[in-house]
């Protein structure tokens, strides 16, 4: 119990930005679902078992057009293909996570990934519990946010315009943190440069796959020079 509490206490502060982002985006999702006529049960079910922000927004379209599960599967694989990179990056850290492994893999969202790939648990804190609680807290925020949105609809009392920037800010801060801590900057530069280039060439709606392929290609070309990266 003590071990669990220590891990939870270490994990919680790291998830506060995600709390803000997920409650906001989750509510936006819940509001949209209810506007399409889906009750709270559907919204919560979706957030509970899918737990993939951008895909759930895309799913709104899939639920409101003709029934086509094959197309739904292909669209899901395309929208979520970036997760492959998260898995490859986490092979080492999740290797010995035992009974937690299936859940850690299930819950590997953009935001959870950004925390677990860039943070070491404090000394004396069990790594597996630590990563488990980060994932569980994020999952909880997402389900809570969607439920909130489904319940209150558009009754939010203050102007939330721009609040979704909290997730951008989170990634920027992690980027800077990694930049300060890792003397080898080329992987980070390659990530930004390839993504920007592909965004300019292919446009916002179709740059993800070219960006991933070009990142892979450039990292592969630089392998000999970057192999020493810690």
């Amino acid at each position: 119990m003590d071990e669990k509490m220590k891990a939870l206490k270490a994990a919680f502060p790291l998830t506060i930005p995600i709390f803000a982002g997920y409650i906001l985006l989750g509510s936006a999702y819940g509001i949209l679902m209810s506007s399409k006529g889906y009750g709270l049960i559907w919204t919560v079910l979706m957030s509970l078992i899918v737990f993939a922000g951008s895909m759930q927004f895309v799913a709104l379209t899939l639920l409101t057009t003709a029934f086509n599960p094959i197309a739904a599967l292909f669209i899901t694989l395309t929208v979520n293909v970036r997760h492959l990179f998260y898995g490859i990056s986490m092979l080492g850290r999740y290797k010995d996570s035992g009974k937690f492994k299936p859940y850690l893999i299930f819950g590997l969202t953009d935001e959870t990934f950004s925390i677990v790939c860039s943070t070491e648990p404090p000394p004396g804190v069990n790594r597996n519990y630590f990563m488990f609680f980060i994932t569980l807290l994020d999952h909880t925020y997402w389900v809570l946010g969607s439920a909130l949105g489904g319940l209150i609809g558009a009754m939010i009392g203050f102007n939330t315009k721009g609040l979704d920037f909290v997730l951008t800010a989170l990634f920027v801060v992690i980027f800077i943190g990694q930049w300060k801590e890792q003397p080898e900057h080329r992987p980070a530069i390659i990530g930004v440069a390839c993504s920007l280039l592909c965004l300019v060439i292919f446009g916002a709606s179709s740059f993800i796959i070219p960006a991933m392929l070009s990142i892979l290609a450039v990292l592969t070309i630089y392998r000999n020079k970057l192999e020493e990266t810690k």
Partner: protein, 111 residues
């Protein structure tokens, strides 16, 4: 609801399975009990840095530099976050202040 309850359930399960496939595939192809190819180990070391860079761009993909406000709120907020983070090195402060400034810019300045 356009679809029946059963159809909705099937679509939700399909999306859930599709998502799990993208998250689990690397772990299935490279199981922990077998030696992971050196190339994949290498990617596992460098990808986290590249992917966070990608995620920053991914978040900003909707920003237009040719239409008002020309990406200014994002640029200002990110510069501020960078300065603050170098100075104070406090994650929550950097994220919180950056977001508040961005909201202020979007709601008050660039309207």
């Amino acid at each position: 609801m356009t679809l029946s309850a059963a159809q909705t359930m099937i679509i939700i399960l399909t999306i859930a399975i599709g998502t799990v496939i993208t998250r689990a595939l690397p772990f299935i192809i490279f199981p922990a009990n077998r030696a992971t190819p050196k190339y994949i180990v290498y990617l596992g070391k460098v990808l986290p840095y590249a992917v966070i860079g990608f995620l920053v761009v991914y978040c900003l993909k909707g920003v237009s530099l040719t239409k008002f406000p020309f990406g200014l709120p994002e640029t200002i907020a990110i510069i501020l976050i960078a300065l603050l983070h170098y100075w104070k090195n406090n994650t929550l402060l950097s994220i919180g202040a950056g977001t508040v400034i961005y909201m202020f810019l979007m709601q008050v300045i660039f309207i």
